[in-house]
């Protein structure tokens, strides 16, 4: 049958051929329809994002002013600001990064440079993976048990920072480890060949070239900390004591900007007439910070990587075809 000339086959199968032509036309139609549908899905997603940004900024930008950003909030009179909330947000951010960075980067160095296959390494790997998938509210509950009750730190900036440090460890370990692993072997070998010890090699050759990745980890974590709400409600609390508004005492209760929005909209502040405006303003501030962080990330990571590594991207295997 494979030895027949094509013409003979065609005349014999003329009905079948006709069916095939119709089917092919249908398939072409389906192909075009699905292409359109998929493009529409993507376009829809992009439009929703633009709408989100537009709506938040349109509602919030009118509220923004220097005094809004710096003055104290009020629970009774309109015209209050978000100064203390911004202060607490930054305080929690810095404190939790201070706690998480040494542990996270240290663990990443251990996993990338020292760990040998075995039960201990498996346990560490499994726990980072497991910890990464735990919902943030569970960390909040854990923080409430451990830091508030067991260690009797109470609702405080310290409890919240410790909780968020824990929450962000897995992300930090993963990104930092990737960064350390992607340092070319040649760097290590060159350093070891010069007679440097393993630790010296890590400190002088590996860590500097992994720095862009580690900074990425810090920035990403920072962005998450600023937006985090649920675990903080359970650990730092939802109020700022009026007589300790800019206090550096880590045992004070605190309310970050994100939590403030939630309090204004959900818990409600009876009697405060401009609660909606303050919430919108706070949301705009939060959104601007997030956008800024992402822009900076996109800009700096490519810049830093190029400068510190001094190499472009490796060509992708299998991407293009040779002739």
């Amino acid at each position: 049958m494979y030895n027949e000339p094509r013409e003979a086959r065609v005349t014999r199968d003329v009905v079948w051929e006709r069916r095939i032509i119709a089917a092919r036309r249908r398939a072409a139609l389906v192909d075009r329809a699905m292409t359109g549908l998929l493009a529409l899905a993507a376009l829809g997603l992009a439009l929703v994002l633009s709408a989100i940004i537009f709506i938040i900024l349109r509602a919030g930008l009118p509220a923004l002013s220097w005094s809004f950003l710096t003055s104290a909030s009020s629970i009774t009179d309109p015209g209050g600001g978000i100064g203390p909330q911004i202060f607490v947000s930054i305080y929690v951010l810095v404190l939790s990064l201070l706690i998480a960075t040494p542990v996270g980067v240290g663990a990443a160095i251990y996993l990338a440079e020292y760990a040998r296959p075995g039960p201990a390494t498996n346990a560490i790997r499994f726990s980072t993976e497991a910890l990464a998938s735990v919902p943030s509210v569970v960390f909040g509950v854990f923080g409430a048990i451990i830091f508030l009750t067991t260690m009797s730190l109470g609702f405080s900036v310290l409890s919240g920072s410790l909780t968020l440090a824990l929450l962000n460890l897995p992300l930090m370990v993963r990104i930092a480890e990737d960064a350390i692993r992607s340092v070319p072997v040649a760097y290590r070998e060159a350093s070891l060949a010069l007679g440097a010890s393993r630790w010296e090699t890590i400190r002088k050759a590996v860590l500097p070239s992994a720095l862009p990745g580690i900074i990425t980890a810090l920035v990403l974590t920072g962005g998450r900390i600023l937006g985090e709400t649920a675990p903080l409600i359970l650990t730092t609390g939802t109020t700022i004591s009026p007589n300790a508004r800019y206090s550096l005492n880590p045992l004070q209760t605190g309310e970050t900007l994100a939590v403030h929005i939630w309090v204004l909209k959900i818990v409600g502040v009876p009697g405060l007439k401009d609660a909606q405006l303050v919430a919108d303003g706070s949301a705009a501030v939060l959104l601007l910070i997030v956008l800024l962080i992402n822009l900076a990330m996109a800009f700096f990571t490519t810049r830093l990587t190029r400068r510190l590594r001094g190499v472009g991207r490796a060509p992708r295997a299998g991407g293009s075809k040779k002739g």
């Binding site: 094509r6 398939a27 075809k321 002739g323």
Partner: protein, 263 residues
């Protein structure tokens, strides 16, 4: 070169140049691939033979920046005309790739893939067509008892013959083979070569190969290509009967290449 009237299954290339962006990879090709003839394209690496082959069924359209000047036609269909139905073209011009690329599905489903895309035949007819294709690609005896097993369980040589079965199951007019044996061991290579010799009875076969013994063994016509020393574009050096090309080449470059002095 062939002067007989083109049949509907003759592929003709007239004054074709192939570009990647502004780089001209292949220049001024004039060739004719006739039915029931195996044409081998030989030449050193980078001479554009794969690009030329991959332009015949427009699979190279997937590479960003690729474009064609001149005409390539199948029968009287202009392959690169704006209105050409690429899907229909690819059904008429089957292709076997350098490395076996079976789909991650069963052996049966791999062969049936092309048959069930449009107006799938009845179950029984489908089974018969799959069997025919597997027999034609000399694989039936080896796989008839495990048609439902994943294709990935086959050896490399079997996988490549499976890919040939997949390509011929839809009964194309032209069969393109891009170094079909480069990833195979010698025994599998021999089987595929025997297969090629049988396939030419019903197809226009064009095969790109690195292996000169293979070209000598399996082809009737040989096209020798090389890269131009000045503009690095691949072009045709010589076309002729395989016997002539290998025993009595006209061009010094062909002679140097077939005698193994470069490439």
């Amino acid at each position: 070169m062939d002067t007989s009237a083109p049949t509907p299954t003759t592929m003709t290339i007239r004054a074709a140049s192939l570009y990647y962006g502004i780089f001209r990879a292949v220049k001024e090709i004039n060739l004719c691939f006739r039915p029931n003839v195996v044409t081998a394209i030989i030449g050193p690496s980078g001479c554009g033979k794969s690009t030329l082959l991959r332009s015949l069924n427009r699979i190279n359209d997937r590479v960003a920046g690729f474009r064609v000047e001149g005409t390539i036609s199948l029968g009287d269909t202009d392959v690169y005309a704006p209105g050409t139905d690429v899907v229909d073209l690819r059904r008429r011009v089957g292709m076997v790739f350098q490395r076996p690329n079976p789909f991650p599905m069963s052996i049966f489903d791999n062969v049936a893939f092309g048959l069930t895309l449009y107006a799938p035949p009845t179950r029984a007819a489908l089974a018969a067509l799959v069997e025919d294709a597997l027999r034609a690609s000399a694989l039936w005896g080896e796989v008839k008892d495990k048609l439902r097993r994943p294709a990935s369980e086959l050896s490399g040589g079997q996988q490549q013959r499976l890919c040939i079965a997949r390509a011929i199951a839809t009964r194309p007019d032209v069969l393109l083979m891009d170094e079909p044996c480069s990833a195979l061991d010698p025994i599998s290579t021999l089987k595929v070569e025997e297969l090629i010799a049988e396939l030419k009875c019903s197809y226009t076969v064009v095969i790109v190969t690195h292996n000169m013994q293979q070209a000598a063994r399996a082809s009737d016509i040989t096209v020798m290509m090389n890269m131009d020393a000045v503009d690095r574009a691949g072009h045709v050096i010589e076309v002729g009967d395989t016997d002539t090309i290998f025993t009595n080449p006209k061009h010094p470059q062909t002679e140097a290449y077939v005698s193994g002095r470069f490439g």
